[in-house]
């Protein structure tokens, strides 16, 4: 076990090495790159979330109002284009209809993008502070949650302004959003870890987001999709989420149970898969950052 080398010298050679060696090998021998960190995970996570959030908004004079302004502008443009210019969409309450798609989509795209780049952007932290690495992408996704809450508030105001009633099925909303957060966290765990090794990952994620905007029913309703593609649509969790939101907020009934089961399963599986991939890939983060 102790092959002596010309260049190897030990201090205190005389101090009974073999006797102490047994004790040492029993103690926390470090084979993986998991730092011996036994801090307060939630406290560290919440501090990172607060940091991301503060850093993002502190230098903007309008601050969090941008999270109101951005979707409002987009909603205005989409409403104008689809109801006045092309008149291709006849959905009632079109602004509320579009917002049901925009709010989940915005969180998905912004959350996933910031989660993907989080490890590379926090390279100094990863290389210099022995924290559990998982909390970096998780904090990046979670720091968008206030953004999401503000947009949800906007959505609800819009739904009420359209004269739609509050129903019991609204109780499903927090659950659906929680599932979306879990789903995006899972995706970000995978993509952030891959992005450390292959830096092009973030551009791939950005392209997927652009495709997603048109591939999920944000500006059109599910009923216009040809039956051939309908099944494929249902496999997409983001599309399922938007459909469930419209069921609840616009139609006033609870989403179908198979939709809920599917969403829960996909979110849980994505998160578990994300953690597993991250565990494997994190070992060499240091060498690639």
């Amino acid at each position: 076990m102790h092959t002596e080398d010309l260049f190897t010298s030990r201090p205190e050679e005389a101090s009974g090495f073999d006797e102490n060696d047994r004790n040492a090998s029993k103690s926390a021998s470090r084979k993986g790159s998991e730092p011996s960190w036994n801090g307060d995970l939630l406290f560290a996570l919440s501090n990172l979330v607060i940091k991301d959030f503060k850093v993002r908004y502190r230098n903007m004079s309008l601050g969090v109002f941008w999270s109101l302004l951005n979707p409002l502008v987009l909603m205005g443009v989409l409403t104008f284009v689809f109801t006045k210019v092309t008149r291709s969409n006849s959905a009632p309450h079109f602004p509320a209809f579009v917002m049901c798609g925009l709010v989940p989509f915005n969180f998905f795209s912004i959350g996933w993008t910031s989660g993907t780049t989080s490890l590379v952007e926090n390279a100094a932290l990863i290389k210099r502070v022995p924290i559990p690495r998982e909390i970096v992408p998780l904090a990046a996704v979670l720091s968008n949650c206030l953004h999401l809450l503000i947009q949800i508030f906007l959505l609800i105001v819009l739904v009420l302004a359209s004269g739609l009633p509050i129903t019991v099925s609204w109780l499903w909303l927090p659950y659906l959003w929680a599932m979306e957060v879990v789903f995006v966290c899972g995706l970000s765990l995978v993509s952030s870890a891959v992005n450390v090794y292959v830096r092009d990952t973030r551009y791939l994620v950005e392209s997927i987001n652009t495709v997603m905007f048109w591939a999920v029913p944000v500006v059109y309703s599910f009923s216009v999709i040809p039956p051939v593609y309908a099944e494929i649509y249902k496999l997409n969790p983001l599309a399922a989420l938007i459909l469930a939101m419209r069921d609840i907020l616009l139609e006033g009934h609870a989403p179908r149970w198979e939709l809920l089961v599917k969403l829960t399963l996909v979110a849980a599986l994505t998160f578990t898969f994300g953690l597993a991939v991250f565990q494997r890939l994190k070992r060499r983060f240091y060498d690639h950052l």
Binding site: R10, A24, S29, D40, I50, H288
Partner: protein, 245 residues
């Protein structure tokens, strides 16, 4: 029981290891050549007991910082094993967990939590950290980017030393800060050592480490050149380096 034990540790880096784009990967697969590698740390063994302090000296690129990262558990050795007993506080680069757009107070909280302190403990040692850093109370609510580099370093060091580690890893950082603060750090580190805790610090120059540590390892090109009491090692290190430099 040893605080730190390294046994035949090697760490190998590959060229183009970092910042790898898809293009580089494809090129590598197409050319079929294995990537060029070099060992940043080669067959290094040493141990530090509780209450002992060890300095790692050597020129730039000798592998000193890699060695500290291995001990901190930030990367894993390709050969051999590293064993560490006790809570580690690593001060590897000034303010790695610090953000210029956060205030001094916010940075203290963030870094204390990253170094493993609980919410309660952070609140308890907060004033102590501020006091030790010597930063006036009216500046602690200001953004870190308005601080001088000396102030930022003092804050970083204060957080690390006040997290009550059993093992302190320090990388060159004590080079900054005015003499009054350095004096304070000295006292704190001596206090720290006297209470049976260990210190591992790294430097390319003599000076401070000679006053802080009793043992030294001289590292060059990733390999140990000499180990022993600090005065002997430093003398040899200084003598060897001058003609070559």
């Amino acid at each position: 029981m040893y605080a730190i034990e390294l046994n035949n540790v090697s760490k190998i880096y590959y060229r183009h290891g970092g910042r790898m784009l898809l293009r580089n990967r494809i090129q590598r697969i197409m050319s079929g050549r294995p990537p060029e590698s070099f060992a940043a740390v080669k067959n290094v063994s040493f141990r530090i007991r509780r209450g002992e302090s060890l300095a790692v000296v050597g020129p730039n690129g000798a592998g000193k910082s890699t060695l500290l990262s291995l001990v901190a558990g930030l990367c894993r050795p390709d050969q051999g094993y590293v064993s560490v007993n006790g809570r580690v506080a690593a001060l590897l680069e000034i303010g790695s967990g610090f953000h210029p757009d956060l205030t001094g107070a916010e940075n203290i909280k963030l870094n204390a939590s990253l170094l493993g302190l609980s919410r309660k403990r952070t609140a308890a040692v907060f004033d102590e950290i501020v006091e030790f850093s010597g930063i006036p109370a009216e500046f602690i609510g200001e953004h870190l980017r308005t601080y001088s580099s000396g102030m930022a370093m003092r804050l970083a060091f204060s957080v690390a030393i006040n997290t009550d580690p059993e093992l302190l890893l320090v990388d060159e950082v004590l080079a900054v800060g005015d003499s009054a603060f350095q004096e304070k750090c000295f006292r704190k580190i001596h206090e720290f050592r006297d209470s049976g805790k260990s210190l591992l610090c790294v430097s390319h120059a003599a000076g401070m480490v000679q006053q802080l540590c009793d043992q030294a390892v001289w590292l060059d090109h990733g390999e140990i050149v000499m180990t022993g009491p600090i005065d002997e090692v430093m003398e040899a290190y200084k003598g060897r380096r001058t003609p070559g430099a």
